[in-house]
């Protein structure tokens, strides 16, 4: 087990290193400068600015410098928001994104579970078709369509919840609900097919043959086993949803990270692009790791002692 951990962490670091390196060099291929007001920058100003930020050095030297700072935990300063450190930009913006994402995840997972379980149990009934249709709609309509509809009807027409802005808990609800639609649909479909598969397994038949109550069979054997693969899926889904979505954040004026990321690429804010990419990747790699661990606890067939089975 210990050896497995050390090995995994080693791999994680190598993965991260590759991502950092690839991003750094790919970013250099983008045209333009990270400085503001490029329309009016003269060649002389550009030379002065490049020298000031060390951008006149060969890319290899810039890269080594960046790695050196990174190892010390220094992500540098933003070019566009002069004086603001990248780490402070990430830390103030991740809160809202993560909160909305997690809330959406919880809403989506619960709704998805309920829908998925019921439609599996009532297989081929009207309810099953209904929830499958709902899931397909949820998957295929992008969340910003729901966002715009929710904002207009719940916010403007009914005035139940704030239209937008970030002013207290009530303003987190609409963006979370809009985001949760995709999660609900994904989870519902997944659970349904897993449940149907498990329901046909020998051990379910055995359990029933032993005379267990149907409720117990469903909860103890079917749902529990159907949940295992959902955990694998939920981890990466959580990361993608928690790190913020550009459109939802823009529509509801949420001060989140997703929007910042897109913006930094458009204006070529080198240090912010790097910082957020590293943050996303590290989070993703970590969550995948955690999922694998949880998986081990849930599924006794997996052991981490030697080669995985």
């Amino acid at each position: 087990m210990k050896r497995y951990f050390v090995q995994r962490i080693g791999y994680m670091l190598i993965t991260l290193f590759i991502i950092v390196t690839a991003t750094f060099f790919l970013m250099q291929l983008l045209p333009g400068t990270p400085f503001t007001n490029p329309e009016k920058l003269t060649a002389q100003q550009l030379t002065v600015l490049n020298a000031k930020y060390g951008l006149d050095q060969p890319v290899a030297i810039q890269y080594i410098r960046y790695l050196g700072n990174l190892v010390q935990g220094d992500l540098g300063y933003s070019f566009q928001h002069e004086g603001r450190t990248v780490s402070s930009m990430i830390s103030t913006r991740i809160g809202p994104s993560a909160f909305i994402g997690l809330q959406a995840l919880v809403i989506g997972a619960i709704l998805g579970l309920v829908l998925g379980i019921i439609s599996a149990l009532k297989h081929n009934s009207i309810f099953d078709y209904g929830s499958v249709a709902l899931a397909v709609i949820g998957m295929s309509i992008p969340s910003f369509v729901f966002a715009a509809l929710l904002q207009y009807y719940v916010g403007v027409k009914l005035e139940w919840l704030p239209v937008a802005l970030w002013e207290g808990y009530s303003s987190t609800l609409l963006p979370s609900i809009a985001l949760s639609v995709t999660v609900t649909a994904t989870v519902a479909r997944f659970i349904r097919s897993e449940m149907l598969e498990v329901l046909g397994q020998d051990y379910v038949i055995t359990a029933r043959a032993k005379g267990m109550k149907e409720n117990q069979v469903i909860v103890k054997h079917v749902v529990r086993n159907a949940l295992i693969p959902v955990v694998t899926m939920l981890g990466p889904l959580a990361v993608s949803i928690m790190t913020g979505t550009l459109v939802i954040e823009k529509i509801f004026s949420v001060p989140g990270l997703g929007e910042q990321f897109t913006l930094s690429i458009l204006v070529l804010d080198y240090s912010v692009i790097m910082g957020i990419t590293i943050f996303y990747s590290a989070l993703f790699i970590f969550v995948v790791f955690v999922v694998d661990i949880i998986y081990g606890f849930l599924d006794p067939r997996i052991n981490y002692k030697g080669e995985s089975a």
Binding site: L30, P31, G32, T33, F35, T36, N37, P38, E39, K40, T42, A43, Q44, Q45, V48, L49, K52, Q80, H81, E82, G83, R84, S91, T92, R93, I94, G95, P96, A98, F99, L102, V106, A148, Q151, Y152, G155, V156, E159, V163, A164, L165, W166, E167, G168, Y169, S171, K220, R224, K250, I251, F252, S253, P255, E259, L266, L268, I294, F297, L298
Partner: protein, 550 residues
Amino acid sequence: MGRKIRIQALMILMAFVLILSGCNFNSSESSSEGSGDKEGDTKSAGQVLNISATADIPTLDSTKAHDGVAFTVLNNVNEGLYRQDENHQPIEALVTEHTENEDQTVHTFKLRESKWSNGDPVTAQDFEYAWKRVMKDASPYNFMFVTASIKNAEAIMNGEKDAAELGVKAVDEQTLEVTLESANPLLQSLLTFPTFLPQNQKFVEEQGDQYALEAENILFNGPFKLVEWTHDQGWKYEKNADYWDAEAVKLDTINAYVVKDPATGVNLYETNKVDRIDLSSESVDQFKNDPNFDTILEPSMIFLRFNHTHPVLGNKNIRQAINMAIDKESLTDVILKDGSTALNGVVPKGFFQSPEGKDYRELNGDFNTGTVEEAQKLWEAGLKETGASDVAVSINISDSEDHKKVAEYLQAQLEDNLPGFKLEIKAVPFAQRLEIEKAIDYDLSLSSWGPDYSDPMTYLDMWVKGGSANRMDYHNPKLDELVTQARTETDLSKRYEMLLNIEKILLEEDAAIVPLYQDGTSILMREKIKDLIVHPTGASHSYKWASIEE
């Protein structure tokens, strides 16, 4: 199973608590909890204006600010030597008396007594300090000092001289002496620009690299104080009781909310959360007949650059034909519908008046307008002169929606109206479009230009040989000569005449570019809001005189 679910539930709960603690909701909500009676708060606040902003403020350090949002805030929380009035003309702000030497190169400004928000007096040293700081840090807007002809600014920018040698000196606490390279009729107008604001040296150095990044890390001496600033969410102004002209200020509170999506802005306006929003072109049709709908002319202009070294496009008749073959009115009224208007000159209308009070556009009229038939005649003449039979060229554009719309329209117009013309559209990211322009590696390029200061010159001196914004190898010695003369001409009427002639050379004589349209913004603003001034250059809004009439 129970244990595992419990572990998961616990993990989720922990994450929730952790994240909620880092959620930083807009503090105006949470602070009102402390004061108890929220309703009473807003009512007793008196005149309140609620507005939206398109982005967060990157920095409020006036020496480093480089964007419209920061310029507007700085203009309303700080006071410099001059400020723009309702007609965008410079009026005395901290200056009480202005004297100049005979050749108008040494200007002496007497300052009124006024205070920073920490109680320190605003002194001439504060100006000297801030101005030298701009040069020392090679700040984004340091070229404004060159435009203002401040002594040694250009040499400092080129790294030939030290920032300490800038032509500005505090003679005593209330007297500032500014030395110029040569007389500059635009000096006062330029001094309204936020880059020329003063800074309190002691305070700036105390704050170090945190200066002006939060509301409490900056000092105010203007009509308003910034009392709250929640990053990416909004900020709140309150009237500054210590402002020297506080009597003129009618608003008590201004709430600014960061709203990036125009459709969200409409919804916030409809629920009375904000009083003024910019509309996107999709919403214009919906609100066109609303009494609160208005269209504001903007001073930026969109135009076509020609590569003047191109064998065919280098021909004047060809360029003129292209000018005439485009129906600009249909472009703005049918395709764009966003409040923009057709433009047949390089200086936009509505902002730049002659000393006699006439608009620049009115005086110079339209250039290169004509029928399609006239365009075709010129086209044929041009083809004969260049020996070309058909012309296949490409247009360099940014990959934005607007640029694509415009380029597709131009393609249709030109290919229909000019026989043998083929236009290929090459859309690239904005930054790359600029690189291509700077390298003059294009045939035609769709460009835009916004003014740096309130004078036609900001659209005219960019066309001189080697000018950093020429970017098309255009050269006419007559134009260069006139620009040089106009820069130092102190007889304002004579100078204006020169400015009119520069445009004539550029467009009548050379048809060097194709002006397409002048930007416009459609807005919704409640009728109760009065005297909210929108400026064409520098800071875009002044709230100093604004009021609410219930």
